[in-house]
Subunit: 160 residues, 2 copies
C-alpha cells in the first residue's frame, strides 16, 4: 500500500484541514464546520487518530519569545559508510533536543538537520561539542537562518 488517501472522503479531508489549522477546536464547532453532527464528527476524528492519519497534536510556540534566537540548517557529510556506525551516529543525532528535524538527502551532503538554539554561542557549542565529536562526521556546512518567512506544518491535502 503506497498510501491510503483513497479511503478518505471529502468530509475526512475537511476535518483534517480544520484540525491542521486549529488543533484545539471543540468537537461541536468542528462538526459545524464540516456540516456533520457532533457524534459523527467525533467518531471520524477518533478513526483518523486510530488509523494514524493524525499522529498527534502540538502547541506551536513562539521561538523568539521563548529565548530561541538562533535557527540553523546544517548539512552533514558522513565519512564511514558502514551501516552500523551510521545508524549509531544517527540515533545519537536525533536524540539531541536541539535537533528539530533530520533528513537523509540527495546531493553533495548526506544529511540535513534543523537546529534551534538560544543564541550563536549555544549553536557554536552544539556544533563544536556535540556534532563534530560524533564519529564519522566528514564535513559540515552551516546556514544560519536570518529570518523565517514561513513556518507551517499544514499539508496541502488533495481532494479525494
Amino acid at each position: 500500500m503506497v498510501n491510503s488517501i483513497s479511503s478518505l472522503d471529502r468530509t475526512d479531508i475537511a476535518i483534517l484541514r480544520v484540525l491542521q489549522a486549529e488543533g484545539r477546536i471543540s468537537n461541536v464547532e468542528l462538526s459545524d464546520r464540516v456540516h456533520l453532527s457532533p457524534p459523527a464528527t467525533l467518531a471520524r476524528v477518533r478513526r483518523l487518530e486510530q488509523e494514524g492519519y493524525i499522529s498527534g497534536y502540538a502547541a506551536m510556540l513562539n521561538r523568539e519569545k521563548l529565548g530561541h534566537d538562533n535557527l540553523a540548517l546544517i548539512e552533514i557529510a558522513l565519512e564511514l559508510h558502514q551501516y552500523e556506525r551510521i545508524t549509531e551516529v544517527l540515533d545519537r543525532l536525533v536524540a539531541m533536543p536541539e535537533v528539530l528535524e533530520c533528513y537523509h538527502v540527495t546531493g553533495e551532503y548526506d544529511y540535513m538537520i534543523k537546529v534551534s538554539t538560544v543564541n550563536n554561542r549555544a549553536l557554536d557549542h552544539f556544533i563544536a561539542k556535540r556534532l563534530i565529536p560524533l564519529p564519522g562526521i566528514a564535513r559540515i556546512h552551516t546556514s544560519i537562518v536570518l529570518k523565517a518567512l514561513k513556518q507551517t506544518t499544514e499539508l496541502d491535502l488533495p481532494e479525494p
Copy 2:
C-alpha cells in the same frame, strides 16, 4: 526586548512542555501534570496564549498516509536585489501551499524552502511551472529527502 522568557516561571515552562507534546490534553490532566489546580492552570494557559508564547495548536498529520510521498529542500538564489521586487517574489512564494517553510539564510544561496508534494511529478511541476517562472530567480538547487529521521516542533525550553 530581546525575549521575554525571564517573565516565565517553572510552572509556565512545564505547561509549555506538556502542550508542545500533547496539544489536546484536557485542562484537568494538564493541571495534574504541573501540580496546580485546574483554574490556576487554565489562567496560565490563557495568559500564555494571550501574550503570544503559544501561537496556536495544530494536528500533526502523517504525510505518507495522506499521499505526500515527496519532500524537498530547495535553495534559491535571487537575481535582482531591488527590495520591492524581492518582497513581491517572497510574498508569492510563501503563499504557495506546497511551501511549508521559507527561510532567508546565509551562504551561497539566499533562501531555503521546504516543499511537500504528492510525488516527483508534482515536485517537477512545482519547480518548472511555479517556482522558476517567478521573476528574479537566478539559480536553484534541489535536495530530495530520501528519508525523514526526525520531525518535531518541540523546542528545548530553557529552565527559568
